[in-house]
């Protein structure tokens, strides 16, 4: 029984990383109405930057903390540049073209990462303080996973406060509900778009930096995270951060249980859930009907 609990809890910790990444994706999708394929690339770049920073800093706690600051910032800058220099130029065209543009960026970044970091698997050590595990009903549970759950909750709370208390957050929510009206009311739409895209990229970067010390980093993690993140966004509802939290936890736990029940078909569980949501409630669990 404790095995199942531990498995579910590790699913929750994986779900928290997924939530951080997907919350950025859902905000971009909700405001700019772009299915941003490059989101997975942001995640991957951040993971590789984390590798470089921790290597340079020697792998201890300072390096870990530095990478948590530096990697998401690098990716946020990359996101801002992409929005201002490329996406903005085709803002008024059909969304199809914006989708293709972000896809082109994933191709360029995928090979760009190969050029800079090579094709080998990389791993990032966890800082000594977080290397051990805590005991839950006598079974060990990695402390790093506890940290992931805590950070996920902090980010969820921070995003909620930002969306409800700040002017930027309120404008952002208004843009999700009715983008045209927000422009008509005199909001600086280009600035809003850049802001949301940069924030979204930063969140993808934070997710990538946090995921780096779990498992290994390799070419191709961009392709798998983006599909999982799309699944989270669709399940939760486009533009809804609380929806992304629910969707990410559903997928994280479903995957963890799937691995116990039928290891090889664990991915299939996600898509079955996704198809079910799209058919029964296309606007997502917490989304509003357009």
């Amino acid at each position: 029984m404790t095995d199942v609990l531990i498995q579910i809890l590790s699913g929750v910790s994986r779900g928290m990383v997924l939530f951080i990444v997907a919350s950025g994706l859902t905000l971009i999708f909700g405001v700019l109405r772009v299915a941003n394929f490059a989101h997975g690339s942001f995640y991957m770049v951040a993971a590789f930057v984390t590798y470089t920073v921790t290597r340079m800093a020697g792998g201890g706690m300072p390096g870990f903390l530095a990478s948590l600051v530096i990697a998401p910032l690098c990716v946020a800058a990359l996101g801002a540049a992409i929005e201002m220099l490329l996406l903005r130029r085709i803002q008024h065209r059909d969304h199809f073209y914006q989708l293709i543009l972000t896809f082109a960026i994933t191709l360029i970044v995928a090979d760009g990462v190969k050029m800079i970091w090579g094709r080998d698997y990389r791993s990032v050590p966890r800082p000594q303080l977080l290397e051990g595990s805590i005991s839950i009903f006598g079974s060990p549970f990695p402390s790093y996973y506890v940290l992931l759950i805590v950070i996920g909750l902090v980010i969820a709370l921070a995003l909620r406060l930002m969306l409800e208390r700040t002017r930027f957050g309120k404008t952002l929510r208004a843009a999700v509900a009715d983008g045209e009206m927000v422009g008509a009311l005199g909001v600086n739409v280009p600035l809003l778009y850049t802001g949301v895209f940069t924030l979204g990229a930063w969140l993808a970067g934070l997710g990538g930096a946090l995921a780096a010390p779990v498992g290994s980093i390799a070419i191709g993690i961009d392709n798998s995270i983006i599909i999982e993140s799309f699944a989270v966004v669709i399940i939760g509802g486009v533009g809804s951060v609380s929806g992304a939290l629910v969707g990410a936890l559903v997928i994280g736990v479903l995957q963890a249980i799937g691995i116990m029940v039928a290891p090889r078909l664990a991915i299939a569980f996600i898509f079955i859930a996704l198809c079910a949501v799209l058919l029964l409630r296309p606007q997502g669990l917490l989304g509003r009907r357009a």
Binding site: I100, F103, L107, A110, F271, C275
Partner: protein, 329 residues
């Protein structure tokens, strides 16, 4: 646009492709074979996007199913590849009917996402079911002796692909094609006119899936192997990019796009280790500067040149029309 103007380039292309083995070496014929299969895959996709306005992001599922139909029949039951290639559109078509039944209920981005998820579902089954599909190791396929020579298999592919593209040409000009175009332009109006929109969309989805299955069934004997990567979602992006590159609105657009990509892959992979970078850069330039694709841009340029003596359309109207056309997915 007159049918002659659409058919003429196809016939020229067919004649060129038929003459090709007399003009170039064996490795180039293999490359041309790759092009033919890729072109059919992209053309089958554009029946959805160009004709019916449906952006499917899971088209590789049917391509891969076609490839695996041949491979499974061959390695499990010893069925030769020609009956396998005949069975492929049936298997892919039946699967497209099952998936299409669900996906045509959604529109736009949600349609794209649901088709993507179903395709990934099939991919995850194929890539993890080792005892049946061989998983990541793939499944071997060997063509019979009479199809082993590069030129023999090339002419076989050319015949099959020509028939399929001929079929797509007839579909585009049929009342069925016209109904799809009406649904693309305005689904609501089409519904008011009495068209059962979902049934038409489902029929297009099945036909496109079946033809992608044919393309896939030609692919595995060419490579003598069926791999799960044929079903992965990045493979679904290929026909989208090729169609965009060639031109969504033009019938031969995807063929031109496929030619560009096959050539680019060949040139880039023989010179650098970073083919994706080159693809991404080319797509980026196309999206930013040539939204109507190569064929659309050339046609527009040609029409403007011919229209010069008699400026029938005021420049503003022409500009507006061009913009409208450019904005259509």
């Amino acid at each position: 646009m007159g049918w002659r103007r659409e058919a003429a380039p196809l016939l020229v292309l067919l004649a060129t492709m038929a003459a090709l083995p007399f003009l170039v070496g064996e490795s180039d014929v293999y490359l041309a074979n790759d092009f033919l299969i890729t072109a059919l895959f992209a053309m089958s996709f554009n029946l959805l996007l160009g004709q019916a306005g449906m952006l499917s992001f899971g088209h590789a599922a049917f391509y891969g199913l076609g490839a695996y139909t041949v491979a499974l029949l061959y390695s499990k039951l010893g069925v030769p590849i020609v009956p396998g290639i005949l069975a492929a559109p049936l298997v892919a078509g039946v699967m497209a009917l099952a998936i299409g039944f669900f996906v045509v209920r959604l529109e736009g981005m949600y349609f794209a996402m649901l088709s993507l998820s179903f395709a990934q579902l099939i991919f995850s089954v194929v890539s993890s079911w080792y005892s049946f599909t061989g998983g990541d190791n793939g499944l071997p396929v060997s063509p019979p002796d009479w199809l082993l020579p590069t030129n023999a298999y090339y002419y076989f592919t050319l015949a099959v692909v020509s028939v399929c593209i001929g079929l797509l040409f007839l579909v585009r000009r049929s009342t069925f094609g016209a109904a799809l175009a009406a649904i693309r332009e305005n689904p609501q109006r089409a519904a008011y006119l009495g068209l059962n929109v979902r049934v038409y969309q489902l029929a297009a989805f099945v036909l496109a899936g079946a033809l992608a299955g044919v393309a896939g069934s030609l692919r595995s004997p060419l490579q003598q192997m069926a791999f799960p990567s044929l079903l992965y979602w990045t493979q679904s992006a290929d026909p989208v990019l090729m169609t965009l590159a060639g031109g969504v609105g033009a019938f031969i657009g995807p063929i031109v796009g496929a030619a560009l990509f096959v050539l680019l892959t060949f040139v880039v992979t023989s010179h650098t280790d970073y083919p994706l970078f080159a693809f991404g850069a080319v797509v980026l330039v196309l999206v930013l500067f040539l939204p109507k694709g190569i064929v659309g841009t050339v046609e527009g340029w040609w029409d403007r040149r011919r229209a010069k003596p008699a400026p029938a359309t005021p420049p503003q109207a022409a500009h507006a029309a061009a913009q409208q056309e450019g904005s259509r997915p």
